[in-house]
């Protein structure tokens, strides 16, 4: 094959280039961060004082703005005193990459300062539990209602105007109300995520179901399917893989609402951890915790995408997947698809 352009219009790139670019997409921001952290003349707006010299108000290990440090130095020099010494640093809220990477480990071993504070893994477990419950409750009602609205105009006309209105009410606005009704424990937090997710879920899923090819429904009708059977055997299977994709996207939104919800009432979960660490000025732990959320979200999405390809084998188009068969097919003796002979 001819060497293709890197910038071919709407042309897919070869796998090696795709992987290279994917790695690069992470390396570029990391490189900028590393440059700002390690190259001393880039930014570094503060001076870490190592020797106070003759400046009265300097304290060892304090960090002062560079302009102040230079002004004081000039003053001392003019008076003929001892010059203060120090080196340029970045503010504490921008830790260097190696510190954050180290914090990925050390955050888990950082002992809570107060006896009743949770460890990092406990915070994460709490957050994941909250999001799972919320997403489960939301889906329990949202998915069937979405399918109903997508299938029957009756339900769509009956529900959707109200839902369209309600989804504009910001979920966090219900915080105080949820606490008043449900107490200060985990219930109001779950409720807020449910409020944030549910209404979008109904609309998104009903839209997906409405997009089912009407020709498939007509074909099923001419084969004798109607009513509940039509829904169960045609409409749901025809849209289930797209619903699955919707759910992946909605789960991403639920994470956003999680952080908001955890501030409500008593702060809890990963948000509590992040806030405490910021208060103690352990910003490396803060970054590590934020990145961990990203990593958990990203890997769970990749896992779900892979799961989707596994349970919906018909979605794998001939071109996109060379290897046919599911991961379990190697345990199951199934004849491979015979080669397609000359047309008919």
């Amino acid at each position: 094959m001819a060497q293709r352009d890197w910038l071919g219009l709407k042309q897919e790139l070869p796998v090696r280039r795709r992987v290279l670019l994917a790695i690069l997409s992470f390396l570029v921001p990391l490189g900028i961060w590393a440059a700002v952290s390690y190259v001393p003349w880039l930014w570094h707006p503060l001076v870490h004082v190592t020797a106070i010299g003759d400046v009265d108000y300097f304290v060892e290990d304090m960090e002062v703005p560079r302009a102040d440090f230079e002004a004081e130095s000039a003053k001392v020099q003019a008076a003929g005193g001892t010059l203060p010494e120090g080196y340029r640093v970045n503010p504490v809220y921008l830790p260097a990459p190696h510190k954050v990477i180290h914090a990925f480990y050390s955050a888990f071993t950082t002992e809570p300062r107060l006896p009743n504070e949770p460890w990092l893994h406990e915070s994460f477990a709490h957050s994941i539990r909250t999001i799972c419950w919320a997403f489960f409750i939301s889906s329990l009602f949202g998915v069937p209602l979405g399918i109903l609205c997508g299938t029957y105009r009756f339900f769509s006309r009956l529900q959707e105007p109200f839902i369209e209105f309600f989804r504009y009410l910001p979920a966090p606005a219900f915080g105080a109300l949820c606490v008043a009704i449900l107490g200060i424990d985990n219930a109001p937090k779950i409720a807020i995520i449910v409020i944030g997710t549910f209404f979008q879920q109904v609309l998104v899923i009903s839209n997906t179901v409405r997009k089912v090819d009407p020709a498939l429904i007509e074909a099923a009708q001419t084969l004798g399917a109607r009513g509940w059977k039509l829904m169960r055997r045609v409409i749901i299977p025809a849209s289930i893989s797209d619903i699955f994709t919707d759910m992946r996207i909605l789960l991403g939104w639920a994470w956003t609402y999680l952080i908001v919800a955890e501030v409500v009432g008593t702060m809890s979960g990963i948000t509590y951890f992040i806030n405490q660490q910021a208060r103690y000025r352990n910003f490396d732990n803060v970054y590590a915790a934020i990145f961990m959320i990203g990593i958990i979200g990203f890997t769970s999405d990749l896992l779900l995408a892979w799961l989707g390809r596994t349970i919906f084998p018909w979605k794998r188009r001939a071109g996109s997947a060379k290897k046919s068969g599911t991961w379990w097919s190697k345990f199951k003796a199934k004849p491979a698809t015979p080669e397609i002979p000359a047309e008919i």
């Binding site: 020709a215 007509e218 001419t222 084969l223 004798g224 698809t337 047309e343």
Partner: protein, 300 residues
């Protein structure tokens, strides 16, 4: 040389065998009887007539094709028969009973295949059988028989996206026939296939039709396809929409591509061309003259 210089028989001239065959067909029971079927649309207060007064009797195991220019309502006509649309007047009786909602007694094959992508080939064919309450064992063995009939036994565990267009359409035919419909309605089923595959599929369909007791109502816009397949050809027109003529196909059976140069075919084709593509009155004097270049002035 124009076609009129040939001494063609009339398309109405039938050889004794063909005439005898039509006589036998007329004696068979009527499967589908359409009387004064109408379809109107209301658009902004005015009604637009798609077609009017369509009457037709289809006998058992007859092969009827419907042709007509686009917009003549031939698709609407069969969608009404299939129960997917409602007529505005008149009646359509299947075995003497008025047709209603779509059902397995009227099998349908669409141009766009419409196989269920989440089901394997075999389970696609089993779909209708299961809808009618057959047990899965019975449905499976019947589905296998139908797949054998269309020559796709080897592909029973494949998914539709793994098949070629022609194979998909064969599955769709097997799926419709598995319900043992009284009438098989086919809406331009080979329209999306390439010319060579379409030819093969036509021969294929005739073979299946010979082996299965089924009446076929087939829509096409391809004159050759209509001539090759059908017993009778219902030609529909526009303005006013409706039946222009129902032609008894004079080409004897069994059919073969060799007949495409025979006199029966040519006379039939000529008639169909007249009906479907009426000569365009081209008033050359009234066309504006636009000079594009002066260089081409001496073209003639």
């Amino acid at each position: 040389m124009s076609a009129r210089d040939l001494t063609l028989p009339s398309y109405r001239d039938q050889s004794p065998e063909v005439a005898a065959r039509f006589a036998r067909i007329r004696e068979r029971p009527i499967i589908l009887s359409v009387r004064d079927l109408k379809k109107h649309y209301g658009v902004n207060g005015t009604t637009r007539t798609v077609f009017d007064n369509v009457s037709l009797d289809i006998h058992r195991r007859e092969f009827i094709t419907v042709i007509g220019p686009s917009g003549c309502g031939k698709s609407t006509f069969i969608r009404i028969i299939a129960g997917l649309d409602e007529g505005s007047g008149g009646v359509a009786l299947l075995d003497g009973k008025e047709i209603g909602e779509p059902g397995p007694d009227r099998g349908m094959v669409f141009q766009g295949y419409t196989l269920f992508p989440w089901l394997t080939v075999k389970r696609n064919v089993m779909f209708g059988l299961e809808m009618r309450g057959k047990g899965s064992m019975l449905a499976e063995s019947e589905a296998r028989q139908w797949l054998e009939m269309v020559g796709l036994s080897k592909f029973e565990d494949s998914y539709p996206h793994e098949l070629s267009g022609g194979m998909k359409q064969r599955v769709a035919i097997a799926r419709a026939l598995a319900n043992e419909p009284r009438i098989l309605i086919m809406d331009e089923p080979f329209g999306a296939l390439d010319a060579q595959t379409r030819c093969q599929m036509q021969s294929y369909l005739l073979q299946i039709w010979r082996k299965v007791d089924v009446t076929i109502l087939f829509i096409t816009h391809d004159l050759e396809e209509a001539a090759y397949l059908s017993d009778r050809i219902m030609v529909m027109g526009t303005n006013p929409g409706g039946i222009v003529e129902i032609i008894e196909n004079p080409i004897p059976r069994p059919r073969s591509p060799a007949q495409f140069v025979g006199p029966e075919y040519l006379s039939l084709k000529l008639r169909l061309e007249e009906l479907i593509h009426p000569p365009v009155e081209f008033e050359e004097d009234r066309l504006p003259v636009i000079k594009l270049t002066t260089a081409g002035d001496d073209v003639e």
